[in-house]
Every structure is written in structure tokens, then in C-alpha cells.
Symmetry: C2
């Protein structure tokens, strides 16, 4: 029962041409009302479904977009994907998802695979370890719309959707200062990603703007996981003049830091405040909920999709749009000295 109805089957059944069937189904005005109705009914009766592949081959449009992220099972990225999907699905697009695992080669493979699959566009967050840009230029040469979100490379003609990481760092730090913290440390990430530089810059500027001098010893670069957070705290506590607060560029690091601080019997937020970054779901769920910078990933995804759609619309014009979203500070217990009940 391999039921597969094509326009030829319909044509044969009605003793007309496939061309006529095609026109009728597409509401071409050249077709008589009678024929159109007849074709429509027969198509429904025969359970006809348009073969998108044939259409794609003919039109050169696959109605698929590729989304490339480091990991799919991180809330931040899956929420972005969800945003993209919500925006694109109603328009008939499908989303093909790839993960790079932060590997440059995997990223290159993915991009090539997506191009072979004739996707109509690629939305991506570049991998931490990507240095080359040949594969990205290749996308542009093929005239396939490319949009970066969150993590970007500076390539001419590519639109980006990011958050203002500087502002995020600034606000988080300012908040800690307002809580009365005097010696604020910062745990950063891999500086190959400029997002971490920006967060650091915001941190530094907030200190200076409030008359606090910047102390190099208070800044640590670390991986984005719990154990890195623990190690960082160990190191910080050994300083002559240990800090009384941490602004971390990662929620996982913030969590590890908190765990380690507790081990040392340090009371949070009374004696030590902690702020994370990303607003991962768990930060809210903890008994000692963690203050964090929200990146509104859902909006970021939607915005990236919209930028892509604009590019599709204006295929002739070269658009280079830079959308910067403003992050929000979610203040929770881990940094709420003031106004504690």
C-alpha cells in the first residue's frame, strides 16, 4: 500500500496534463474554475501531498534552515533553537540542527553538510575553538544567508544577534557594589570568545566608575563547569586579602564557587555574594537561588530568525544588521544582602 500520488496520477485520472494539475493546485488564474475545482477534489480524494524535494530541486529553495550550536542540551541553546523554530515554523521552514561540541572540524563538517543539503540559510553560534573562517566565507560565496547569534566572528556582510555582554558584566558588578561588596572577584571564560572579554570589561569599568581599584589577582580564567568554580574559589581564598564577592561569567562556575564557599563555612550572602551568568534554570531552583544575568535566549532565537527572514526577502540587497539585546539581571538570594527577610 505504498500510496504516493503525484500530479501525474491526478492528471491521468482526469485525462488532462500534469501542467494543468500543477496550475490548478497553485491557483494559477489561467485555469478555469471548473477544472480547478475538479483537480482540487481529486487531489484530496487521492490523498495527494506535494513532494517538497521535487519542488526544492526545481526552485532551488529547500525550505530548510541549518542551526549550528556547540551543544544542544544546554538550556541556553535549546531555548534559542526553540525561539528560531517558533518564528520559522509558521512560514513553512524546517530546522536542521547540528552541534559542534566546540570542535572546529566538526563545525566545518556541519557547515558543508548543510550546504550540500541546500539549506536556505544558516544560523549559528561559533565554536569556542574555531579560528578559521574559510568555511564561513564559503557560505557567503554560495549566497546562503548567514546569521550569527551570541557568539560571532567579525566577517563582512554577516548579520549578528548578540547581547550586550559588557552591560551584563557592568550591571552584575554594580549590583554587587550596591550590596556593599568591596573586593569583587571575577571568574571569566576562554578569551577566544569575545563575549568573555566584554563581560570582563563591563566588570572592570563598573569597579572604576565606583571608585574601586581594579585588582588583577581577583580575575581568574576558567572553564565553564562546577569543578572549575571550586578550584577558582580555593585559589581566591588563599590570597592575602581574599574577595568578598564573585561575579562569574558562568552559572556552573558560580554554583561550584558557592559549594566551595560553603565548605569553607562562609555564609552567603551575608559574608560573600555571588552572581552568575546565563540564568540557567537551576539557578532559580536552588534553595539558595543564584543571582544571574539573563540573556533572554528565546528572544535571541526569534530575533535571529527575523534577521534571516529579512535577508531572504531582500535577496538582492546586502544587509548587515547588528542586533544587540540588553540582558537583565535576575536578583536572587546569593547576592541579596540588602532587603533580606
Amino acid at each position: 500500500m505504498n500510496e504516493k500520488t503525484t500530479i501525474y496520477d491526478i492528471a491521468k485520472a482526469l485525462n488532462i496534463t500534469a501542467a494543468t494539475v500543477s496550475r490548478a493546485l497553485n491557483n494559477n488564474p489561467k485555469i478555469s474554475e471548473a477544472t480547478r475545482k475538479l483537480v482540487m477534489e481529486t487531489a484530496a480524494k487521492m490523498n495527494y501531498k506535494q513532494n517538497k524535494l521535487a519542488l526544492a530541486l526545481k526552485s532551488g529553495k529547500s525550505n530548510n534552515v541549518g542551526v549550528v550550536v556547540p551543544y544542544i542540551d544546554r538550556n541556553f541553546f535549546s531555548a534559542i533553537i526553540r525561539g528560531i523554530e517558533e518564528e520559522l515554523y509558521p512560514l513553512g521552514y524546517h530546522v536542521i540542527i547540528c552541534q559542534t561540541h566546540e570542535l572546529e572540524n566538526t563545525e566545518i563538517d556541519n557547515i558543508n553538510a548543510l550546504l550540500n543539503a541546500q539549506v536556505d540559510g544558516i544560523l549559528m553560534s561559533v565554536s569556542k575553538h574555531t579560528e578559521q573562517t574559510d568555511h564561513l566565507n564559503h557560505v557567503l560565496n554560495k549566497n546562503v544567508p548567514l546569521v550569527f547569534f551570541d557568539r560571532k566572528k567579525d566577517i563582512n556582510g554577516v548579520s549578528t544577534v548578540t547581547i550586550n555582554d559588557y552591560e551584563g558584566g557592568y550591571r552584575a558588578t554594580k549590583h554587587l557594589i550596591e550590596q556593599g561588596c568591596k573586593r569583587i572577584a571575577h571568574i571569566s571564560g576562554h578569551w577566544a570568545l569575545e563575549i568573555y572579554k566584554h563581560r570582563f570589561n563591563g566588570y572592570k569599568q563598573a569597579l572604576l566608575d565606583h571608585g574601586i581599584s581594579y585588582n588583577k589577582d581577583y580575575v581568574i580564567k576558567a572553564k565553564s563547569d562546577i569543578s572549575a568554580g571550586k578550584k577558582a574559589v580555593e585559589k581566591l581564598l588563599k590570597l592575602k586579602n581574599p574577595p568578598d564577592a564573585i561575579f562569574s561569567s558562568s552559572d556552573y562556575v558560580a554554583l561550584g564557587a558557592i559549594q566551595e564557599l560553603k565548605e569553607h563555612g562562609i555564609k552567603i550572602p551575608d559574608d560573600f555574594c555571588v552572581v552568575g551568568f546565563s540564568n540557567e534554570p537551576f539557578t532559580k531552583f536552588m534553595e539558595l537561588s543564584i543571582t544571574s544575568v539573563d540573556q533572554s535566549p528565546l528572544d535571541m532565537g526569534k530575533m535571529a530568525a527575523k534577521v534571516f527572514l529579512e535577508q531572504v526577502k531582500e535577496a538582492n540587497v546586502k544587509i548587515e544588521k547588528k542586533v544587540v539585546l540588553t540582558p537583565t539581571l535576575k536578583i536572587r538570594k546569593s547576592s541579596s544582602k540588602i532587603g533580606k527577610k
Copy 2:
């Protein structure tokens, strides 16, 4: 610079036929070594990339599989997707993701869209509110391999990958009994999903097997969110003889329950034990970490992919495979009366 090389371009450049080029690229033994080499080199030079759409149309295989889940941004599902991807990517498949938001109509739309896109198979977890099965039978009629994971419908000829929910419920409950809990309540989910029935059955049987009588008042059906957990606890605590433990079919409900219990000044795990289900990441991160039943979503995804691949391989034979994975109980603080340090 719209560089798009086809086999015809290569053919023209070498003054041979596209057929020969195609054969050379596919290592057809009928082609002379000299020609093959020449074609290969020219293809590389001209930056040729096979058009998968044309191939798909010709072969009837798109090398895309559809994955349908209720939500993409729940760890359980995104981890499954990751598992599927890891298994299928190396074989050249791409994954097209759809979410139903638990809506039957959206599910139907998604399935139809995937069929139109000529996917080679559909892997799915059915929506909570799906009652019809027409759209699913339609998939089978088109001879498109269908695999259910986690949530299934009983349809003849469809393979499934699930966990043994009964066993999960049984082990969780047995564990609570071993901790000395006497009055164990159970918070279940929407019984339209048989997974919840099975977990309940496991719970009930564990009680009976250990000489504890089953008390209907201890069982509450609730949605899978935090507030539902709070409400359920409120209700349970009002009973004449309130319970001293909860086995919840959801981690979110377990979390809500714990929050509410704390509000009532009840000490966990000393006076009350709680076990959740799904092993969501946050259960591990809490200071009072939550015991939970792990469903190994990564393995589930991989297994679903493998079952799909088998079906593709044996396209002529009808395979109906039922894989049941055994869940693991992750014992954490929320239920560790014994052996507490």
C-alpha cells in the same frame, strides 16, 4: 560569485558526459583509472559539491529523519535528541526537529510536514493530548519507518524504545521503604500517558510486596510543575494521617513538594523523604540534592536511532521491536536517612 558546480560543468570542462562524471565520482568500477583520477581532480578544483536534493529526488531517500517531541527545551528531550543525532550523524543523516507543545493538532501538522519533506523516518514521543492515530497510521501507509520513544501509542508494527516505568516506580518506592518510611504518598501525572500508570503500578506493587497497605488518599494526580507539587503537599499534610514520604513522577513536582515541606518546617530527609523522576540536572545541583529515577535519555535516543536503522536496513521485512531500558535510581540527600554523614 554564485559558484555552483554540477556534474555537467565538470563534464563540459573535460569534454565527456555527465554520466561518466557521475560514475567516476561514485567509484563505479566500469570507469578507467585515468578518467576517474581526472574527474576527481577537476571536481576538487572546481569545488564541486553534490546536490543532495537532486540525489534525494532520484533515490527517494532524503537522508533526513524527523524527530517529534513535546518540548525541545526540556533536558530529557534535548538529551534524547542528542543521542539520536550522535548515532545518525556519522551515517550522513540530518535531524529535523519539531515540537508539539503537547497539542494534538500541532503534532498532526508536524507529521504531515515531515512526510511532505520526504523524511526517511520519524522518531517521536507522542503528545500528552494525542488521541487520534490516523496521522500515525498514515506514516506507516507511506512505508516510512516510525519509532516511538518514551511515550508511545499501541500501534501494530511500530517499534518502541521505552524505559521500564513500572520498575522505576517500584525501585523508588522500595528505596523509600528501606529508608524506614511507612506512609508513602505518590504524585502521579496525566493518566492519558501510560508511563504514569506504570509508575503508579510499580509504586503500588512495591508497597504490597513489603506488607504496606495501599492507601488511595495518598495518591494525587497533578501537572508536572513546581506549583502542582506545592499544592499536592498542602493537600497531603491536611490528611488525618499525613504521609512521611513522597514518590513523585516528576522532578519539578518533587521540587515544589520539597519547597512546601520546608515552609511547613518539616525536615528532609529526617522527617520526610522525597524521590523524583527523570533526573533533571537541577536535582543533582541542589544543596538538598533530590533522589531521582534516571531514564538515561542519551541511551534512549541512541537506541531509538539504532532501531530506526535496523528498519531501514530490512526494508522488506516488517520489524516490530520493543526495547525496554531499565531505569536507575540516583540516591541523593532528599531520601538518605540511612548512612547520612
